[in-house]
């Protein structure tokens, strides 16, 4: 979408909103519960320096620090063993770029306005705390934060700050990752290896090991995060699924990859070794909404584990859709 078009849409929807409020002053029914589409602001908009130095302000600042320097506060190399919640030296901002404020880089903006929500991975409604702990146990390969810990409350408060003014239940334009249609073929890890060598090695290293800021044991994390190996996310993380890694690689990394290159390089990355998440088979307990690229058992649609890992995914998506439709008609 071009930016002037966005402005037009915003202006139109803003005037509609104001009008609807004014009309609402006299007439029913109320449109105020209808979901609004909220655009994520520019990075400068989310400036914590704008906060006073009070309890809330300090907690929000701590949340941002935890996001940017996770390794230094709750990483596996911090001095106090009780504080070692994360199992690797990644930062939240390794994926949630610009401290969680960048559109289509899984931003935190608006998170407070859309949780609690149903999560297929748990087949249950999750609070924002549960969602944070999902990351802690997967992308951070660690253990959950207690709900009443200062760290958990700091994350929740930081997300609340980033969500200020956003109506509850909104649709956040720029949430998650940007959609991209995967090529309808099996992804090719070998071709992906070549894409990796040409586009990614420069920063992430030939072994995907990233670039440490200092040395092992100093809790200073990475300038460039490791993409696999023992200091990276585990196989229960969303990023270990091919279609997720593909979208991230396409839109949030060098930005010059073609769809085919992003698809293949993601295949290369998911082929690499990484820590294992225990009890993975318990994820997505409602089989009908298990993502087609969740490449771990149980498999419900008769396809091979290979196909769930490398595609082609379009036929799997069709099967899943048929399964869902069948379930819905059974429920009627």
């Amino acid at each position: 979408m071009k930016s002037n078009k966005i402005l037009k849409v915003l202006a139109l929807s803003a005037s509609t909103l104001v009008l609807s409020y004014m009309v609402n002053a006299r007439a029913q029914p109320s449109p105020q519960n209808a979901p609004q589409i909220i655009k994520i602001g520019p990075v400068e908009y989310y400036d914590i320096d704008n906060l006073p130095d009070d309890h809330y302000g300090r907690l929000v600042r701590y949340g941002k620090k935890l996001t940017d320097e996770t390794y230094a506060v709750i990483g596996p190399e911090v001095k106090n063993p009780k504080m070692r919640y994360a199992g690797n030296n990644l930062a939240c901002s390794s994926c949630h770029q610009e401290s969680g404020t960048l559109a289509y880089a899984i931003p935190f903006v608006g998170v407070s306005a859309v949780f609690p929500q149903y999560r297929p991975r748990e087949d249950d409604v999750s609070t924002v705390e549960e969602r944070v702990n999902g990351c802690m146990q997967r992308s951070m390969n660690g253990r959950p934060l207690p709900y009443d810990s200062r760290e958990m409350k700091a994350y929740v408060s930081y997300m609340n700050f980033l969500s200020k003014g956003i109506p509850v239940g909104s649709i956040i334009d720029g949430s998650g990752l940007k959609a991209m249609k995967a090529p309808n073929r099996s992804a090719d890890p070998q071709a992906g290896g070549q894409v990796f060598a040409r586009n990614c090695v420069r920063c992430h290293g030939a072994e995907g090991q990233g670039e440490r800021t200092g040395k092992v044991g100093d809790a200073q994390g990475y300038n460039v995060p490791p993409l696999w190996g023992k200091d990276s996310f585990n196989d229960g993380a969303g990023m270990s699924r091919l279609l997720i890694a593909m979208r991230f690689a396409k839109h949030d990394m060098v930005k010059t990859l073609t769809d085919d290159q992003a698809y293949d390089v993601a295949a290369y990355i998911v082929t690499q070794p990484r820590p294992h998440k225990a009890n993975l088979e318990k994820d997505f307990p409602a089989k009908w909404n298990k993502p087609v690229d969740a490449a771990f058992p149980p498999y419900v649609d008769g396809a091979t584990p290979e196909q769930h890992k490398y595609g082609p995914f379009a036929p799997l998506a069709e099967k899943m859709k048929a399964l869902k439709d069948q379930m819905q008609s059974n429920n009627k």
Binding site: L10, A11, S13, A14, L17, V18, Y21, N24, A25, R26, S30, Q32, N33, A34, P35, Q36, I38, K39, G41, P42, E44, Y45, Y46, D47, N50, L51, P52, D54, H55, Y56, G57, L59, S112, A113, F115, P116, Q117, Y118, D123, D124, V125, T127, E129, E130, Y147, D148, K153, V156, S157, N160, F161, S163, K164, G165, I166, P167, V168, G169
Partner: protein, 310 residues
């Protein structure tokens, strides 16, 4: 008691801010206290939560309905957590939907927020737990348990469309200004006997049908304790003025509301669970001296108030 401001420009800019990023940066108010409800503008309705029929039939909808059931029948459904005979809906009328009755849509989007009451930033779960400790005189359910989750989901759903971290008109109880000559317990007794006795009883004991209360007890062992927000006369006056007598809200004068709130809150109720070293005076100094207008730890007609009920 409707206080209307005429500043339409302010309203429009507020709405715009909620919708587009007009400003360069997020504007943050002073967070030392949760902002009170702003005045409702003339001709604008209060926020209204979604209708029951809007709720989906799925896992989320099921959890919301569970939260609603807990909200209405708290004592029956969370007996381990409720130490008196109160239900959430006793203070948050119309299932937590009614403006100026501390509606959930006014509360939920405001958290996490700093509260002077416990001198820390509270998450919504902690705020709910506070109600269980004081208004319900009970034991708070765990923050990661099903009860808090269901009540949170219900509050979230009621807040659909309400802006995150912005105070809406109608949140809280919108307290009337205190009477110029001060409140008067004796005058409050007269109001109580005329307006309240028929439902809440001569001794504030409420009314039961079978084992269930249909009108809540206002004092005594089955009511809120001395740590609850409702023990503040200013808070109770706001609730009463807008909502009592039931179905005839906003018919009492501000003075009547203050007087009858004082009469209700001069009566004994379960002790403040934060009682400091068993000492009412110490407890008054630490928790009540700077907590609105209340009678805890003071002497009224020669009687020390705040002794609690054994």
């Amino acid at each position: 008691m409707k206080r209307h401001s005429k500043n339409l420009v302010a309203l429009l800019s507020l709405l715009l801010c909620a919708h587009v990023f007009a400003a360069d940066k997020i504007k943050m108010e002073d967070q030392t206290q949760i902002p009170a409800a702003p005045n409702k503008l003339s001709g604008v309705k209060y926020f209204s939560p979604p209708e029951d029929a809007d709720l989906q039939n799925n896992a989320f909808g099921d959890l919301v309905r569970k939260g609603e059931a807990l909200f209405v029948n708290t004592k029956a459904l969370a007996p381990l957590n409720v130490g008196n005979e109160m239900n959430c809906v006793n203070c948050h009328l119309d299932r937590g939907r009614k403006a100026n009755s501390s509606p959930m849509w006014g509360a939920y989007p405001m958290y996490p927020a700093y509260r002077k009451k416990n001198n820390k930033v509270n998450t919504y779960a902690e705020r709910l737990q506070g109600c269980f400790s004081f208004s319900m005189n009970g034991t708070p359910p765990p923050a990661d348990g099903e009860i808090i989750l269901a009540l949170t989901a219900y509050s979230y759903w009621l807040s659909t469309g309400a802006p995150t971290a912005k105070a809406l008109p109608g949140r809280g109880f919108d307290e009337p200004p205190p009477p110029k000559g001060g409140f008067d317990v004796a005058r409050g007794k007269v109001v109580y006997e005329k307006q309240c006795v028929i439902c809440h009883g001569e001794n504030g004991e409420g009314k039961k049908v079978g084992v269930n209360y249909v009108f809540p007890p206002l004092w005594g062992k089955d009511s809120y304790n001395w740590g609850a927000g409702m023990h503040r006369i200013n808070t109770a006056a706001g609730f009463i003025q807008h909502n009592m007598p039931l179905g005839r809200g906003e018919t009492l004068s501000d003075i009547e509301a203050w007087d009858v709130a004082a009469y209700v809150n001069v009566h004994e109720r379960p002790q403040d669970p934060r009682l400091v070293e068993g000492d009412i005076e110490k407890t008054r100094k630490r928790f009540h001296a700077d907590d609105g207008v209340n009678l805890y730890g003071t002497t009224v007609n020669g009687v020390l108030i705040g002794q609690g009920i054994k």
